[in-house]
Amino acid sequence: MSIKVRYFASLKESIGRSEDDLEFAGLATVGDVWRSANPNKALPDNVLAAVNMDYVELDGAVKDGDEVAFFPPVTGG
């Protein structure tokens, strides 16, 4: 299955990319998506995750065609 991964703000700057396109053979969680895209970098503690623009936990499942996003705590308003 194909997953699009997006990164924002300080996290995007620290990993040096704004997005990745991943292919998975079997089932995967949001945490698996991070580990596959960033094998040498642990997910920072405060990072938030979203699937298809809704907040999710790291053990949430992903499916083919999903857009997974990782970003730091939000600071709007």
Partner: protein, 148 residues
């Protein structure tokens, strides 16, 4: 209901006036309008700030704001609501956010607009990067809790 993301400076008072003018069916129905406007300061955490860049996640921002407004509508008898938020490069004294809520009575207007604003602060995917007078740049790490 209205949700707008603006890439250039906006006038919150014009936005309120235009929205109220276009929503003709609420004329005579509302008795209270509560307005919150957030404006960029030229100082933060002890430093002089000369500019700011607001990044957002297009699509998710609108989706989360729609969800937050829908939650407010479930909890209070809101007649109408308007949320406008800036993105891009911002200068001190420019408005960042507008939340306006129209209700029959004032208590609901205060409570619903507070709810929308606090939820926006913790859930809408916007990120601020400050440019200091010293030319240093820094990302804001976390929003403060508005209820403290």
């Amino acid at each position: 209901m209205g949700i707008k993301i603006c890439a250039t400076s906006f006038d919150p008072w014009q936005e309120i006036q235009a929205h109220q003018h276009s929503a003709k069916d609420m004329a005579g129905k509302f008795g209270a309008t509560n307005v919150f406007i957030g404006t960029m300061r030229d100082f933060n955490e002890g430093d002089d700030v000369k500019g700011m860049t607001l990044e957002h996640y297009p699509g998710m921002t609108e989706k989360q704001l729609e969800k937050i407004v829908a939650e407010a509508l479930q909890q209070w008898p809101v007649i109408d609501a308007l949320v406008v938020h800036r993105v891009g490069d911002i200068l001190p004294n420019e408005p960042i956010v507008l939340v306006a809520v129209w209700t029959s009575h004032r208590g609901d207007a205060f409570d619903a607009s507070r709810y929308i604003m606090e939820a926006l602060k913790s859930r809408a995917p916007f990120w601020k990067k400050e440019l200091l007078q010293s030319e240093a740049e820094r990302w804001l790490v976390k929003n403060t809790d508005g209820y403290l």
